[in-house]
């Protein structure tokens, strides 16, 4: 009888433990995402990674977006996390090899809430991010596009609207919905401080331009791209 009760208690404690966001993270996310850090310091290490590092998710993502996206994930990087693993020569130019891309798993509403809460506690940022990095303000999409594309050439690698722009990097028309503004400013200022081997170069653009680019992301994020 005592043994039966012990087994029952063990089962109950194990199942409640399995229900925590932290446990879900370890079970469902850890095989593709680094939850502990540090970021890759060699190409060999980078090439092994299947998705973005999450050990500083709490200073990078917006929790509301994260919770929704985890329930209904859609591709943010047209050519996958590491573009060079998902392309092939095409008729005119290299093209995305869709057969090598896999879909991100979807979580239930309850799982997404727990995982988001667990992710938001992860704040082991390699760079100290000040809350007031982004000074706010607005910019027109037309002028923002000039700063982003014409003055800095960022559109070479990023889509600024669905189906328009570069394919190797993540889309930027949802960037402000997905990520915290202070992180965006800090990452654009020094991408290698966050991820030494990131395919994103440091453009050494001015602080003023960085602010304008993040304002541009906010302007883009206000558009309803699903209806366009």
């Amino acid at each position: 009888m005592r043994a039966t009760i012990s087994l029952l208690l063990l089962f109950l404690s194990a199942s409640s433990w399995a229900d925590t966001g932290e446990q879900l993270l370890q079970q469902r996310c850890a095989s593709c995402h680094d939850l502990q850090g540090p970021a890759a310091s060699t190409l060999e290490d980078l090439w092994q990674r299947k998705g973005p590092d999450l050990f500083y998710a709490g200073v990078k993502y917006r929790p509301q977006w994260l919770r929704q996206w985890l329930q209904k994930p859609r591709r943010i990087r047209p050519a996958g996390y590491l573009y060079f693993q998902h392309i092939k020569p095409g008729e005119k130019h290299d093209v995305i090899d869709a057969s090598t891309l896999s879909e991100h798993m979807a979580l239930s509403a309850d799982e997404a809430r727990k995982v988001t809460e667990a992710l938001m506690t992860r704040k082991a940022a390699p760079v100290q991010v000040k809350g007031d990095e982004f000074g706010g303000g607005s910019i027109s999409i037309t002028f923002g596009e000039m700063v982003f594309d014409k003055f800095n050439g960022c559109m070479a690698c990023h889509e600024i609207e669905p189906g328009y722009g570069g394919l190797s990097g993540p889309e930027v028309y949802t960037a402000a919905k997905r990520m915290q503004s202070a992180y965006l400013v800090s990452f654009i200022r020094d991408p290698q401080a966050w991820n030494p081997k990131t395919p994103m170069p440091n453009k050494h653009t001015s602080e003023l331009n960085i602010q304008k680019i993040v304002r541009y992301f906010h302007a883009l994020a206000k558009e309803n791209w699903d209806e366009k």
Binding site: I87, H93, F151, G153, K197, K203
Partner: protein, 115 residues
């Protein structure tokens, strides 16, 4: 003899981590340059669809011969604007060491089979 072997192994052990950190030019080219210059180095990368300026074809001896090694070093390190070319070519000074850039220049010379 035993002492010499120990010294050799110690020196090797000290140097090995440093050797491991330096990426080969081919690996760097694949990770950072393919996106615009293409898997075959022909300027037809996955990003070219909406680019306003066509990336340089690194396999073209004619086009590449017009650039000195110094120009190539400068354009990789400081970006297209450093040699009055397109802003679409970014500076890679925060990504590569000078040694890696020199090795990339040598790799480009292999791709174009030109000096």
């Amino acid at each position: 003899m035993k002492n010499e072997l120990t010294v050799f192994l110690l020196v090797f052990a000290v140097l090995l981590p440093g050797i491991g950190l330096a990426a080969s030019a081919e690996d760097n080219y694949k990770t950072y340059c393919w996106q615009c210059h293409g898997m075959q180095g022909n300027g037809m990368g996955v990003n070219v669809r909406d680019m306003s300026v066509q990336p340089r074809d690194h396999t073209s001896a004619k086009a590449m011969r017009s650039r000195s090694d110094d120009d190539l070093f400068k354009v990789i390190k400081h970006g297209g604007l450093a040699i009055d070319k397109s802003v679409l070519m970014p500076p890679w000074d925060a990504t590569f060491t000078d040694q890696e850039i020199h090795e990339l220049v040598a790799y480009l010379r292999e791709l174009c089979r030109c000096r």
